[in-house]
Subunit: 359 residues, 2 copies
């Protein structure tokens, strides 16, 4: 039982059911990689990605044919504090742009061979009913966290349930690799608040320009976050409390995507800073999900470094990107796919009749 | 007139004909990129790659549909000095593996949608006549540079001509993006010698484990290179002299690929360390080719950092790879292709009806 009726007990049960990858599978993965016609480990991170996927899939011929990026959209009451150069209406306008195929993620998901799954988990503006959007709005945006909690605990839980349900449907459809993505004007402020609350790093150390603030804007954003943390006193040991008080509907939804994917034994590729905040919250709720998470890229948003260090993950790409939407996840999926093609398609030294190292 | 009969005068004429990308095209490229539905420059390096390709192609809708990786194979007399843990025969065995489709580059080129063009420009062992290999052997491997010049100046020029001719045929077939790749046991020693000679950096600063030397092996390799440089005294101001005396047939061939691509107005993606040495030599011969070169990745071979700094290029990827074959070029081609898809397929703010920044 998930979705709108997800209880904390349900969530705990789901988390307890997250499978542990088999050590034996990892040994077999490296045995195959080291037998292929190349100097051992000469493909560096590409081999590590292949070995991880092989281990997670329990095979020495990994494949990630069916891929999907879950893009959660939500609005943020904290935009009332002037934390973004763009108006909130842009969230809904961009969802329409995603439906029409005109955004960066449309091009990059298509290029990666990934389907794009759009979820309205909390957009504030009217949005026409599109066949291309999963309408699962928990609330029309969050409340302004600078004056009170962004959400109730029940709303945060419901948003997590939306993510869990979305992934469940995708996995039932044969998807074997899930990426995260988001759209929400103001959400780099919420992400920074979540990261600050969960890591203890001062807001000034986790804020950045987002979609394009100047230095004064960034300082203002840090001050707003400090106020939100003071007003709400989120409990750092309770990630659900943090998500509810200073998070966002799409951030909670993506935390659900991470937990949902891991619980079904499906690897998940975390996008940039906002997705990273969601992944961090997910792994605080569900530490056992960690092996199932790949970091796609290191965003140029400064706080993403803090997130990746907290997650202990090395990103696949460093392209100074800061768009979100799942664009980094899409690009990283291409490398994960290439890693599988390499591992599954290459010949061994023995098969190819190639001499090994001289003793 | 190129190929076996390429003269130094022919090469100079070809170099003089390298086109200069239009500044106006660059301005138009950024104007389009900044009009697309994303915060300006929020896709970081991906936008820079798109802008460069757009500028080089003279369009604001760049595309790199037909791609090819030119893999040049050659052997090295310097292997007599014990600079590689693998026997020279592996070069020919790996060419057979490339023909059979079992190597890493087969999988990664296919994944990138690039054709793989195999060229025997100097393999020492017998190689069956394969329809899948361009047989353009200038010599059966180089001579041992530790005791005398690796090649004559005429041989180096001939190998460059092979690269130029190979690219000419590909461009005639509609290829619009060329990648470099190589196979040659011992060629990380030759590459390090070329880089040391051209940059003045001590051999110890540009050598590395190659396919898998230990520390003592790396020190021995540096000593062999020092000897080769002392014996041959290559002229750092004459890259053809450097290529001939301490280079390799496949390294000279790839220098020809770079010059040939630039002369026809086709961008070229340089692979790892050995390809980087070839690209460095090419740009010393033909500085005007620089705008046409993309650096694919930063190899874990330490000297590649020296090469990239000398070239002034930021690599697209950093995956700790050190295999060569064109594997880094293939992966980077996917990102270049994605950059084009982004730039050519996205909608503008105006087209999508999305609000811009608030004033």
């Amino acid at each position: 039982v998930t979705g709108p009726s997800l209880t904390e007990a349900d969530l705990s049960a789901l988390i307890a059911a997250i499978p542990t990858p088999a050590k034996e599978a990892e040994r077999e993965a490296w045995a195959r990689l080291d037998s292929l016609t190349k100097p051992p480990r000469s493909l560096g991170l590409l081999e590590e990605l292949a070995a991880r996927l092989a281990t997670l899939q329990g095979t020495d011929r990994p494949a990630v044919a069916r891929k999907a990026i879950v893009l959660m959209a939500g609005d943020h009451g904290v935009t009332a504090e002037g934390v973004s150069p763009y108006p909130s209406e842009v969230t809904a306008q961009m969802v329409a742009n995603f439906v029409a195929g005109g955004a960066a993620i449309n091009q990059l998901a298509k290029h990666a061979g990934a389907s794009l799954v759009l979820v309205d988990v909390g957009v504030a503006s009217d949005l026409p009913v599109h066949a291309g959007v999963i309408h699962a709005r928990v609330a029309p945006g969050t409340a302004n966290m600078a004056v009170g909690p962004a959400m109730t605990r029940a709303q945060a839980l419901e948003a997590i349930g939306v993510g869990i349900d979305t992934v469940a449907d995708l996995v039932a459809d044969g998807v074997v690799l899930v990426g995260t993505g988001e759209m929400g004007i103001g959400n780099s402020t919420a992400a920074a608040a979540v990261v600050s609350a969960l890591t203890g790093v001062d807001p000034a150390g986790v804020v950045g320009p987002g979609t394009g603030l100047d230095d004064a804007g960034v300082r203002h954003k840090a001050a707003v976050i400090s106020r939100a943390l003071a007003v709400n006193s989120p409990d750092a040991t309770d990630a659900l409390d943090v998500l509810a008080k200073v998070g966002g509907l799409e951030i909670a939804g993506l935390a659900g995507v991470v937990i949902g994917a891991a619980s079904r034994g499906v690897p998940v590729v975390s996008d940039g800073y906002i997705s990273g905040a969601a992944t961090l919250a997910a792994l605080r709720l569900a530490p056992a999900a960690a092996p199932w998470v790949f970091a796609s890229h290191r965003s140029s948003e400064p706080g993403h470094r803090v997130v990746l260090e907290a997650l202990g993950l090395r990103p696949v790409l460093e392209l100074d990107m800061r768009l979100g939407e799942g664009t980094g996840a899409a690009l990283a999926m291409e490398l994960l796919d290439a890693a599988c093609a390499m591992m599954s398609g290459m010949s061994t030294f023995e098969e190819a009749g190639v001499s090994g190292k001289e003793s």
